[in-house]
Symmetry: C2
Subunit: 117 residues, 2 copies
Amino acid sequence: MTAYRPGLHLLSTFASTPDCLTNVGGCQATFNRLIDALTLTKVGEVYHVFPNGGFTAVVCLTESHVSIHTWPELGIATFDVFLSNYLKDNTAKTQQFYRDVLTYFEATELSKQELNR
Amino acid sequence: MTAYRPGLHLLSTFASTPDCLTNVGGCQATFNRLIDALTLTKVGEVYHVFPNGGFTAVVCLTESHVSIHTWPELGIATFDVFLSNYLKDNTAKTQQFYRDVLTYFEATELSKQELNR
């Protein structure tokens, strides 16, 4: 049996602007751009917008998943990116995805958790 | 501005049987049963099956999300349930969802991480 190689899961809570936290199209374009740039494989996605403009999204990848939940009324979002290392080491891609999403959101990082799992 | 109340995010790596780890229909039925039983609100989902029968899934909830990735060739899965406490305290529901999924999978827990975020 092949040995399991844990992947990096980064979890963030960050502060952002009302414009970014209600711009589901901008978020989706950013996720898609990064998925392409990092040659990840998307197999499905859900983007759901709440009446106040906040949104919640999950993107299913063959490498694992990305998720985000925004609360414009609180000025924050929770964001996850988890890429397994099953076929190759995706650690650097996980870190780049994380950094670039926070840059897009003009984010102030409130908490960051790093799990190898 | 309303104060942010962190929600519980439980993350598991568990061992299971080849039958469970390749039964995407059984997993989906279990998730749906728990979403109904716990009166959670699903707004979308993705289930993707790999050629070897392993699967990856994300379920988008108004309360946040659930995800699972199975590797039958390794005998394991990684599973997350994250329910925010934005409208009410969902801590007990997060814990029950987690327990019941592991029971369904006849799981041997290899790691469990609990984050309040």
